[in-house]
Subunit: 254 residues, 2 copies
Amino acid sequence: MLSRGSPLAPEHRAWKTTEPFKSVLAGDRAAMAKFTMKDLEQILFVTHTGMSTAQFTAIVKDWMATARNPRWHCPYTDLVYQPMLEVMRYLRANGYRTYIVTGGGQAFVRTYAEQTYGVPPEQVIGSAIETQFTENAAGDAILMRPPKLLLNNDFSGKAEDIYLFTGGPPQAAFGNAAGDRQMLEYTAAGGKGALMMLVQHDDATREYAYGPAEGLPASKIGTFPQSLYDEAKAKGWTVISMKHDWKRIFPFDR
Amino acid sequence: MLSRGSPLAPEHRAWKTTEPFKSVLAGDRAAMAKFTMKDLEQILFVTHTGMSTAQFTAIVKDWMATARNPRWHCPYTDLVYQPMLEVMRYLRANGYRTYIVTGGGQAFVRTYAEQTYGVPPEQVIGSAIETQFTENAAGDAILMRPPKLLLNNDFSGKAEDIYLFTGGPPQAAFGNAAGDRQMLEYTAAGGKGALMMLVQHDDATREYAYGPAEGLPASKIGTFPQSLYDEAKAKGWTVISMKHDWKRIFPFDR
């Protein structure tokens, strides 16, 4: 999956100094071994344009079937949070529709969201490039993926895209980073009964610990700033500690 | 609802020569009396920006409750096709999700689609302007409507936006104009069992008659060209005649 990175690099000078591309171009295997799911998504997203939507899906499915996370030695789709699965099941059992709203690539996440989270493609809202209707040599309609961003589903984009896809604010929203702030504010604007929750990655032993909120180590990826923590406390949003509140993190934990 | 048209006109010189704006600016009441639902949508869509999504919805709902169609002397929401309601109910009763995919404004159609067609907001795909996350004076999150087009849901846009919203082609698609061609081609590309249908407005007595396909009068709005008719016949798509195939057109017909 990373093999397409290098040929495209001359057009993208910024990649030389920006993670996760920098590590790929430098061939830094140690750094690449630490890539998060989000890093991998980002690389896939920017390198897999100029093909049809069907070709893209096939590449993702193939990669999903073979790739293994270097820390847990398992497929990436096994690295889902047990409490997240439980709350989504609970909500669905009570008549709610559950969505995944991700800064990651929408077409990427849709390939595994149904099997992994029980969320069908039309309930995945993510960053998206434009597609372009065209016909192949046989005259059949196909959609191509030009390298042109349509939706940047992070920060304000999360609130805006939830409105675009559903027509209004959700009744509950769960986040874990700075890019979720506007989504939670938009959810709160829905009025009484709205539920806003944030998960803090504060368990270096069982998962990761980063912030920099509350003295946790700083992180350039998935940053959870003190300002978000303070806003949550001031507004009565629940901040969940993975370390203290989650009995199991992954389904394979004992 | 039309009152906002004139103040904005200086910025939009093309409106002076383009329908439906031309008739509004000229104060041509006779021409305005013949406006279709699509004309009205278009005017609403371009004139009601620069406000919040909630303000826009309130204006549409208010207009819906009071406006009357000058030919049938009824609310616009009564002017729905009985066979369309029946086929949507039939599909839903058999486990299908039904969508409205419209060249009209998504936010506009969403205000009445659930009550009128049984289609919830998240299953309405239409033309959409961008929204902009911001906060009001009280610090509450609101989405504003800047005058910037995000999705032009017509022609190729219909196929592209169906993919954007749902992740793949539908199993059946129904159109009635040139702007539906790519949607039907994309549906056909889904493979065996796909159903493609076109409705032809050929009943001047009970509704309207226009084409110019098959010798019907030409129309600048909702054009159904001969090329679309020929493509349908060549590919085995069903062309439905409102005049010959529809027993009732509107629910209030006997």
